[in-house]
Every structure is written in structure tokens, then in C-alpha cells.
Symmetry: D2
Subunit: 430 residues, 4 copies
């Protein structure tokens, strides 16, 4: 965990104390289930609940001796219990508790993350609407291509985020599984019925077949979706970093009152938040790699996944959440310099309209190949010289014969490129 | 592509020729759509189809000059066309063709892969049923834990495969999108209606918002699911490699008539297929990494994803398919040495029943903690000496008072552990 | 950072306080250099040192406002200074301090890690010597191959560790670079001479060309070597996990007095340390991935590497160190069951001598191909039936004619395979 | 292998035929060594050489039966041999041949790659010299920072390339190892002396301790260095992509006569080569990941690394070479628009001189903190309004009192920032 990137409520979710509380939550649900099926006397869970005290230091001290975290937990928590202690952890193996509690943590973290995504999606949609009619230059390969709608940038992110929300919601349902089936997953000392009742109390379903543990494909799936979300955030961050470049300066991430960009250069306003998000996306990808490697456990389980998960589960969920929250802040407070956006369209002195000229020539009867060669020739000349592309073209008599002055004016207008944009937005009406 | 791992039909799917054919397929669908909306004269697509010749060498030769593969393709294919050529690629940008054709290839590859998964699932289920009642020793941490059902190994893989089939089917629907929206995705020179009609002909839907390209989250999602499937196959392969170990020898991958295990050691029968699959899983994970990195393109697109995809798309789909086909062959022809499976349960001279003894003592009134210490003491002694655990325990008078001889016999029987296995299988009734 | 895996002295190295102390160390070295070249009055550094107080909370509070950690540091530390404050951070940019201090931390961490490797190498060498003459069965593909020396396992790890020590020492020299060359690395407001003097005081050399930062290839190189070391540790851990398998049980990782292997199964002794190390190796690989991605910064630097490094630098060095320390403990306290090691050689009833028989037949005049087919035939039969391979072979008259009884006895002895082992050890004489 | 990215001589190096030829090369070297030590009759190797025919199809056909590539190779190659065949592969195991031949291939590939790096380094150095005195604006975070030398960009890449050359040369020496020590690496049927002689003939040394195979740390080290080199190339490619952006246009990758940038937009000149290299860097990182995972083989080896290496060894070396060759072409033919480079310095109307003003105020007696606040205030105003920074500052009377007009002129000149650049270059005098 990196302190500065740990936001509530996820930060509290991953404390050792919270982990022990979840373990207790699972143990209690099982005792309650035992009561329901008549194995434990009514009231046992209540008694246990009353007497159970989670003393983190005591648990850690015991772990020093037994070298097993769940056993240490049980020993500590049941210290002051009477006869009811015999139903505590009854019929269970450690992984029943650890893995089921793990699912609780991941489900809760994922719910927080989905909420954050929904908030981000609202903000993206709002910006998409706001800038729908603002023409901007579309850039492919970093080179000016053709005008388009500035709002489409946001709409494209919004659409991708919606896909990610659907994906994560599906995984959230997937991972809401527990297992209370004993040492090798065959319900030797606990019944499927008890498992079902206990898990239901926790909002989980039984994983259909477990070994000692829940298969690690669930977690790998979850974290690979996180990597996808991080990939979108990286895309957003890189776009804004590009737009904030001094030479472009069409947008800028929020710069707070009192903020300083550089210890040496007082004039600097740097997209540090976007850069931070870019770096974090690399981490999120690397977590997916670990999660993939964690899948192929030996036989009915080995515990190699555990050390890796102690890093990756808290860090991936906390970083994911941080990224989403900061992206929302970023988009919400993004400065867009509309005049500059519009002005930049003309930086190439009209070259970006080359396709329209090409198509106009084709429509007027020229072959595509011939038109291409002609238009490219003038375009590359203007690229070198900085001359007006329109004027250059009009100086060619063949072109002048095929395209009227009026038509020429029409060909060099950005609004043409926004004609059909409304139809894209219609796909997202709420 | 590694020749020896390239199986049909995927091998043919990824030839250059097949790629150009898909490009033509897309171009033709667009012309047909233009006919339908009345822009191109009826019969144009038919004429184009008649005259279009895909000459791979010619296209490559042109590409040498223009340094652009789609332009080379267009120039070559339209060579012998008449006036209808003007509707070829009309209003499109290269990526409209490339990305839409790419989706076709991925959808088709995925369909082949799903079919292969379904076949594998049948085989796994069949083996799960066959070995349902075969008791085996469950192993956790590589150490004998408690008896369980040998069939559960297969059922666990089967359950995970079913999850993967659902995941891949969902992604398959997701990736069945195309884009025919022009240079920066704003339908400047083509209408959403034409896109919709053309894509429908190809079995695709429009991606809701495109830049010049379809967002790369789709492909990253696909390949990360491949990594999950590969993770399952690795799990299967590692299990069988373990079972085939000389010391375990409970199962063996097929060893063909005439096969040789080693140039030096004639006695060797090695699980080379399982090892091959293990290595391939590493590749599949690495492809996911590339696909994640390919997502954050600049502005309305950069083409950095393209070189990477030239490796990763063919190799990931072909390797995935190879892995699945070989895994099916492996499972179908797996030799299981049932006698050895049963015999291995007793390798520890009864230690694996320690939990049952523990629980019996607790039921008979001993505290869990006291019972644990007692049972562990004798267990660790027997671990060292190889003595019979049952006899050791019976030599303790306290234990003898609490557990009858009859009960003792019952505690040391593997079938107890299979009592509830049927209930796990019931979750999968077809 | 995962608390339970953070060992001293690295844990203290990565606290926020220690980081600020290193920053101060760098700032002071620069002031001292300014004194030496006559820019700052003699005694300035001393005065600054006297008055500089590192107040972590104060720095963090200022950072909340200025959103820049180095500026916050400077403001806080210089609070009580007089005129000498003007020489504090004079001519520097933040990254001069951060990156140079970063190098200090990495060099110090690497020194600790190299020391740990050296200690591990001693332990490995000692075990290699101790088990040099203990015959064991070599296993390839998990299948018994031919006898070899148990000590060679350790010697092989030792040899690989020596390579890693050389690699890490080389990188340690590499990364001992700083940069004090200002905002874009061109020494605009500081001279190369001042840089050289200041860095020398810190035990560093100037990186030959810097942008605003030191190029990230250094760190990527360092962490990729960590991944190599982790790969070796994983190899060791997996070997021991295999040797500790119930069916093999040739070795066992230390099991402490009072330790418990399972909450459910009192008999369990699991290789949990080895499994923990295995999982950590996955993390170490993933850190390398992040470090590789961190290299391609924009222009004269972007800060995307920074957020990722806040996780990866502390976690990779601390985890690397933990892995090494635990591996040493593991090897030092490893239990080797020598009798079992020897006994396992005969598990195949002599099959492992098949190559010797093959070569004896070839030497006696049979063609290699013919001999292979014959020996393989009997070997595979014995594999199925468990018969004695030697007896089986002797029942074949052709073989009996070519190989004498005496020769047969000699062919089936493990010590033959250790003949040349001494020569391998001679390569490592200290 | 991707056909279009496979360049000679590496393409030929990785054909199946070339692989078999290397295997024969190794087998022959061993026979020659046997001759030298007196085991094989003089002339045996010569005879074998004469009769050995590599018939790829025949080998593959045999492999279909024996399912083992080396055995198939031996059977096919020795077909027409007489008695000398008995010395062919004598005392060897398959991996002796495969791994030693593998080293040959990797050493040869690496030599080609190092040559390519050296050629690239010349080109980079030359460009560094050519543009040493061309002032350009340094950019940090994508934002104009301070002027610097355009040549330093190349010098920075050159310096990093030199480091990579050193690293790769070191690895090249490292990987020049073979192993001819038999089935489990203990020289059971071959002597260390024969190994040494044979390897010497091949330009290799014995790896100090082998299992059945050479430890995979060598290859992992090699490929991780490739990933470093690829990271540098990505850095170069991204810089040029940035410089070629329409808004910046300070440099441009070569655009060939006849080349077309877009099928739709005739005006486009895209940095497609740089983008291609960017994508390839992702691949190179992913290969390192696979190579790291390939290290932890079971016991005396498992063959899981093999399938992965069939992809990764050819593809990583060929892609690495392609990247280097193309980068050299790129740098050699890079267009630099010097006028534009100089002009861009003033895009911020002087803001980039803010540090110099800050330092001048401090020198003139103002406190650093006060000066920072003042300069930042005016800088941010000018950022918004586009006013001249110099004029703005001069309108402040306090500043005017501290800084003379003459001094002001001096503060706003780019050549100041190049004062010390020569000293950086001096570090690289050839």
C-alpha cells in the first residue's frame, strides 16, 4: 500500500483488523447455519458474538508461535469462550474462512469501484454533451487528420466506460462466491446445506466445485478487468497530456490555487495528475500478470498465491479506486480552451480538407487514383511551404474547372464534419 | 506463427491471402449497402465481385512503393475495374476495412475456439463421471491431506471451463463489432445507415463510438480471457505432470506406439505434452500484457498497436486453439492407474485421517485445542517413524477411553470423504 | 509495502522520513560543493545542517497546498534558516534532488541485497559440499532419469547465484549515478564541476547525459536482475516443494516447535515458506514489467514513472531482500532425509539404468538403433508390471550373450554416475 | 515469425534447416573431441560429415512417429552411415545437442544485433554532433521548460545505447556456454574433457553446472537486455512522434517518394515507422516476461520452456534486429526543421525564462520564496493572456529596480542554456 494513494473506504477495508472482522463474520455465519440445521444449540452464535474480541496484537503474537494466521486468530478469539467454542470453526478448514472472507472483501471493494465508475460515467457524458458542437481537429498518428467534434472524445471514453461497467458488474456477480467445504472441498465434515445457508447470510453463493480453495480464475478475471479499466484511464490521461502540451494547449488539468509546478521554473503548469494515472496503469497491468500466474495451483491447492495476493488484492483495488476518483475530479474540473480548440483546426492552412477535395474531384468525374495523386502533390507542397491549400488548389486550372468557387468555400468548412455526430449521440440517450 | 503449432482451420484464417479476402468482403458489403440506399447503381457490387482479383504478390509489390497496405490492396484489386471502381472504398478510410475485417477474423477464430472448448467440456465431464467414486488422496501444499474423489479433479476443471465458456461467449458477442465511419469516426463521408446495413451483412454491429479505429479494449478483453483459459489448461497440465511423477504414477498422458521419451534413456515416458501446454500458458499471459498496452492510443488513433497485433492476434488464437485441441486429446486418452490411486491413500499409514480423529475427540468431549495438541503430537511422531497412526493413537489410554474400537475403524475409511460428493455433481446435471 | 514481509534495514530505508533525510543529504552535498568552488561562503553547509529540521507532518501539510513534494520539503526545512537559505537548492531542479537521493536509496538497498546473496551463497556451497557424495535419482520431466549427486542440486543453485551476484554487482556500479544538472539537464544554473564534487561526496558519479531525470534504463536493469534472482529462488523453492511431497519426502523445510500446518488436519507439515517464495517470484517479474514500461518518457521527461516507482522501488527491494533472507534460513535449516533419498533411487526397480545397458550393448557391438528398441521394449514392460528391470533383461538370451553377469552388476550401481562429479566441484574451489 | 519483419541474416538463422545444421555442427564437434582423446578412431568425424545429409522432410516424417525431434534427427542423419554411426551422439543426451546448438544460435544472433547497435551508435553520435548548437525548447511533462541543445536528445540516446551495448556484450560472453554432460548433467557417459574440447571448437565454454539443460537464467538475462534496448528505441520513437506532431513539426521521419499516408486523406505524412517500433517494444517486454517464467524448471529439468522458446527465441532476436535496423534508417534519414525548432522556443512569449528571472531576483537580494511567488504570479497571467512575459515583468517596479534593462535582455536569450553543453559532449570524445 502506498499511503498517499489509499482512499477511504477501501483503505479501511484492507487493514488487518478489518480482515479479522471479516473472518469472524464468516465464522459466525457458519455457526448460525449450524443453529438453523439443528447441529448447534440455538443461541450459540449470539454467545460467540458477545464474547469474541478481536485483539490484533494478541493474534499476531500467537502467530509468531504457530506460524499460521487462522489458527492464531481462532486461538485468540475463542480465548474467553465457554462450551460454545466447540462450534467455532467446526468442520471448517482455514481456507473456508480466508477465501470466503476474501470474496467479501473483493465484492465490497468492487461495489465501491462500480459506484465510482458510475459517477465518472455521468461526468463524462455531461462533458460529451457540452462539447458536442465544438469543432476540433481530429488527429491520427499525431498528425492533423480531419475536423470532428470535441465532445466525441468524451463520448468515446464514455462508451468504453459503459462497456467496462458491464464487464465489471458481470465479474462482481461471478466473484460473489464462497466455499465452506472443508480441507479438500468435498464436504467431509460440513454439509452443502450448511454452506448454502451460511453463504446466503453473507450475500454469496457456493462456488460449484472447490478444492481447498476457490479457484483463482475468479480473481484473475477481476484483476484483468481492472487492467482494462486502467487502460481506458490511461487513454484519457494521455489524451489530456497531449491537449495540455504547450504547442496544443486545448485543455488543461485543474491547477489548484497555491499549487507549484516546478521548484525551478515558476511558469510551469504540468499535467501531473494525468501522468500519475499513466504510471498507475502500468501497475494495474502488472497485477493482472501476477493474477494469471496465480491460477495453476498444485493438486487440491498450494498456497503460493497467498503471498502475492497480500500485495496485489489491496493494491489493485485501492489503486483502481484512486484512479477512478481522480479521473472524475480531472474530467469534472478540466479546463477546455474553446477558442484555441477552434483555432488549431487551421494550423495546416486547410490541408485537413484534402479528403473532401479528393471526393469532390471524384464526384466531378476524375478517377480516384488521378485525384489522389493531384491532391497529394499540392498537399505535400503546402506542407513544406505553409501556403494556403485552398489557394494552391484553385491555382490549378483542371481543378478549377471541376470545382466552383462556391463549392470550394463549402469544402473548407469544419461544420460539414459534424453533420452526423448527432446520430452517434442518439445511441446513448438516457 | 510456429509452424508445428498451427492447426487448421485457424492456420488458413491468418494467411495474407485470407486477410485480403476479408478486406474484399468488407469492401463489397459496403458497396452493397450503397446500392441499398441508392447511392451506387444496382449491380455495382456484382460487377466488382466479378472483376476483383486478389493477387498477393502484386499487392506486396505495390506496397513496396506506397508503404501502405490498404492502398496497395485497393490499387491492385481495382486494376481491371471500370467505372464501378469509384464505389470501391468510397467514403471509407483504411481502418474501416482493416478493423472491420479484423473483427471478422477474431469472431471466426473465437467461434472455432468456443467449439473446441465445448468438445473439451464434454470430455472433462465424462471423465468426472467415470471417476466419481474412485477415492484418491487429496493433496494440499503437495502434502497428503484427506481422501477425496478422483473425479472431482475433472469436475473442478469442468466447472472452471464452463465459466470460461460463458466468459468467452460474452466476449464473442462484444467483439462482433465493426466501424465504417471514416477517417476520424464521425461519418463525414459515409452515413451511419450505410454502416449499419453493411455490418449486418457481415454479422457485425457498429461499435457505438469509434475514433479512426475500434477501441482496443475489445481485443484486450478477448486476449485476457484467452489468458484465463490458458491458466486453466496450465492447471490441468500441472496436475497431470504431478500425477505422472514416478513416485506418484496415478495417471499418465498418452504415449504413442513408437514414441521415444529420450535419446539417451530408453525407459523414459515423459509428460511432454503437458509440459508443452505449461510453456504455452506463459505465452498466452504475455499476449494479454501486449494487448493491455495496446489500448492507450494517441488522440483519434495512432498505429502502434498494429505491429504488435501482427504477432499477437494470429499467435494467440492459434496457440489457444492448439492448447484446447491438445488438452482434449490429453484428457480423452489419459491413462489412470486406479489401483495405484487407491494404494497411494495409505502411503502415510493413516495420518490423513487426523482431522476425523480430532473431530471425534471433540465430539467425545475434549476441547478442540487439547485434542489438536494431542493428535498433532502423535501425527508428527508417526511422520518421523512411519508407524501406523491408528495403532499409535490406540496406545494412548485417554484416547482409547473416548473412542471405541468400532468407531476407530470407521474413522480410518476413505469412503466417508465421498459421502457428499454426489451433491456436488448434482449441480451439473445436464 | 506488506508489513509482514518488510525486514530491516530496508524497512527503515523506505520510510518517508528516511526519504526526506536523503533529500537533505543531497542538498547539503551541493551546498558543500558550492563552498568548495567558492560560490557559497565557507560554513554555509554547517549552518544549514544545524538549522534544518525534518518535520514530516509539516512537509505533508505544505504539500497539501503546493501539490509538489520537493517544494513542500524545501519550504519546511528552510523555515528557520537565515541568509544561508539562499544556497539551499540553489541552481537545482526538484529532480536533481529526487533522482540523486533515489540512487542513494537504491545503491544502499542493493548493497544490503548483495550482502544477503553472499551469505546465501556460503550456505549453498556448504550444503553442496555436504551432499556431494549422496546419490539421488535425477529427475527429468518429473520422471526418474538417472542417478546423480544430491549435492549437485545445491551446486547448481550456487553457480547460478554466483552469476546473479556478478550481475547485480555490475548493476550496482551502474546505478551509482546522480544528476545535478538542472531543469533539462544542461547545467544551465549549476556547473558540471559542482555536480561532480557533490556526487563524489555521496559516493556517486554523474550520469553522462541526463534529461530532467536520470534515464530509467538503470532502474529497469536493476529490477530485471532482481527478477532473475527471484527466478532462481523460485527454482530452489519449487525443488524443495517437490522433495517435500509426501510421495517423495527426501527433504523438508524447517518446521518450528509449536508450528501448526493446518487448522483442520493436525498431521500437516507444509512447505509454506517455499510456496510463499514461489508467489513472490511472480511479483518480482511483474515489477520488471513496470520498470520496462517506465523507460520511454516524453521529451526531456514526464513524471509517469513516479507513481509506479512509489510502489515498485520499495516493494521490489524489500521483497527481494525478504526472499533472500528466507531462502538462506530455508537452506540452512533444510532437513534432508538421506536414507529416503537413497531408497528412492530404486523405486523403478532398476529402470533408471537403461542408458547404461543401452551403451553396454552398443559397446558390445549392437547397433544403437537396435539396442534402443530392445531396451525400450523391456523397460516399458517393467514400467507396467513393476518387475525388476535387471532380471527382465537377463532373461533375454541375446543380451545375456553380450553382457556378463559381472558387468550387469556393475551397470546397476548408482556410484558410477558420481564418478565425474568431483570435477564439477573443482570448478568452484575457493 | 512475422514475415514482413524478418530480416536477413537472422531470418535464415531460424529456419528448421539451419537448426538441424547447428545440431550436426555440435554432434560433429563432439566426435572430433572423441577423436582427440582417443575414443573414436581418427577420421570418424570426417566420414560422418561426408555421409550426413540433412533432409528436413525426412526428419519431420520420422518425428511424426517417435514424437521426439532429436531422435528423429539422429535417425535420419545417420541413415546412410556405416560403423562410424556408433560415435554419433555417443554419450550424449538430446539436450546436450539442443542446448548447445541453441547457444550457438543465440550467440550468432547477438553478434548480429551488437553490430547493428554499433552502427546505430555511430549515426546517433553524428546527429548529436550535428545539432549540438541548435537551441531547442526542452519540454518536461510535455510543457515548455527551458531551452537546451537539440543535439542533446541524440546524445542522451547515444549514451543509453552505449550502456546497452556494454550490457549486451557482457551477456553475449555469458551466454556463450554449452553443455555436453549427459542426461542429468553429471558426465556419466562423457567426460568433462571431451565437453571442453568440443565446446572450444564451437567457440563456447562449459556452463559450470548443468542439469539436463543449461539453466534458463542465461536466456532470461539476454531477453531482459533486449527489453531494455527496446525501451530505448521506444523512447526514441516516441520523441520523434512528438516532434512530428502537426503542432510541433520540428522533425519528421523519412517519407519515401511515392509513399501514401492515408487512403482517405492525401495530405497525411504519418510517423508510421516510429509507431511500429513503439508497438514492437511492447512485444519485447512481453518476451522478457516469458523468459523469466521459463526459469524455474522442475528438478533436473522439465521441458515446459521449450514450446515457449520456439516462439520467443526467433521472434525476440528477429524483432530486436528489425527494430535496430529500422531505427538506424530512421535516424539517418530524419528530417529536422531547424527554423521551426528555433521558432518554437518563443511560443510562450518568454515564459520559459522564468527560472532565470527567479534566480536573478534572488541574486539581487530577494528571498527565494518571495521571488517565486512574484514570478509565478506574472507567469500564470501571461500563460492566460499570451502577453509578453518580459514586458509584464518590467512593468513591475520592484523587479525593475532589481534588474537592469541590459540584464533583462540577457536573461531572455537561449544561448545561455547551451553554455555548458560542450562539457557534456567532452565525456564522449572518441
Amino acid at each position: 500500500m502506498v499511503e498517499r494513494y489509499a482512499l477511504e473506504p477501501l483503505k479501511s477495508l484492507w487493514t488487518l483488523k478489518a480482515q479479522y472482522e471479516r473472518w469472524l463474520e464468516v465464522e459466525l455465519a457458519v455457526v448460525e447455519a449450524y443453529e438453523e440445521v439443528g447441529i448447534a444449540p440455538r443461541g450459540t452464535a449470539e454467545k460467540i458474538k458477545d464474547k469474541a474480541v478481536i485483539d490484533v496484537d494478541d493474534i499476531l503474537a500467537i502467530e509468531q508461535i504457530v506460524d499460521h494466521d487462522v489458527i492464531a486468530f481462532i486461538k485468540s478469539v475463542t480465548k474467553n469462550m465457554g462450551d460454545e467454542a466447540r462450534y467455532f470453526h467446526y468442520g471448517l478448514t482455514s481456507s473456508d474462512v480466508v477465501d470466503t472472507a476474501n470474496s467479501l472483501a473483493l465484492v465490497r471493494a468492487t461495489d465501491v469501484i462500480i459506484e465510482s465508475m458510475l459517477r465518472l460515467s455521468d461526468v463524462l457524458y455531461e462533458k460529451a454533451l457540452r462539447y458536442k458542437s465544438l469543432p476540433t481537429i481530429g488527429r491520427t498518428h499525431g498528425i492533423h487528420a480531419e475536423p470532428t467534434s470535441f465532445g466525441l472524445k468524451f463520448l468515446s471514453w464514455y462508451a468504453e466506460l459503459l462497456r467496462n461497467i458491464e464487464r465489471l458488474k458481470a465479474v462482481r456477480e461471478e466473484i460473489a462466491v464462497g466455499k465452506l467445504s472443508g480441507a479438500v472441498g468435498n464436504y467431509a465434515n460440513i454439509s452443502p446445506e450448511v454452506e448454502k445457508i451460511a453463504l446466503q447470510k453473507l450475500g454469496l453463493k457456493p462456488t460449484p466445485v472447490a478444492t481447498q480453495v476457490i479457484s483463482r480464475d475468479y480473481i484473475a478475471h477481476l484483476i484483468s478487468i481492472f487492467a482494462l479499466i486502467a487502460g481506458l484511464i490511461e487513454r484519457i490521461a494521455i489524451e489530456i497530456r497531449h491537449l495540455q502540451r504547450t504547442e496544443v494547449l486545448e485543455a488543461m488539468e485543474p491547477f489548484k490555487e497555491g499549487q507549484r509546478g516546478s521548484s525551478a521554473m515558476p511558469h510551469k503548469k504540468n499535467p501531473i495528475l494525468c501522468e500519475r494515472l499513466t504510471g498507475m496503469a502500468r501497475l494495474m497491468r502488472s497485477y493482472a500478470q501476477v493474477a494469471f500466474e496465480n491460477m495453476a495451483l498444485w493438486h487440491e491447492r498450494d498456497i503460493s498465491h497467498s503471498s502475492a495476493e497480500r500485495y496485489v488484492l489491496p493494491d489493485s483495488t485501492m489503486t483502481m479506486y484512486y484512479m477512478l476518483e481522480k479521473t472524475r475530479y480531472l474530467i469534472e474540473n478540466l479546463k477546455v480552451f474553446e477558442e484555441r480548440v477552434k483555432k488549431n483546426i487551421d494550423l495546416t492552412h486547410g490541408l485537413v480538407y484534402s479528403q473532401r477535395v479528393l471526393l469532390a474531384l471524384v464526384e466531378a468525374g476524375m478517377s480516384r487514383e488521378e485525384a489522389y495523386i493531384l491532391v497529394q502533390k499540392y498537399a505535400l507542397q503546402c506542407w513544406e511551404t505553409g501556403e494556403s491549400f485552398k489557394e494552391k488548389l484553385r491555382s490549378d486550372t483542371r481543378i478549377n474547372q471541376l470545382i466552383s468557387d462556391e463549392k470550394f468555400e463549402e469544402l473548407f468548412r469544419p461544420d460539414y464534419y459534424l453533420r452526423n455526430v448527432e446520430q452517434i449521440y442518439e445511441r446513448f440517450q438516457k
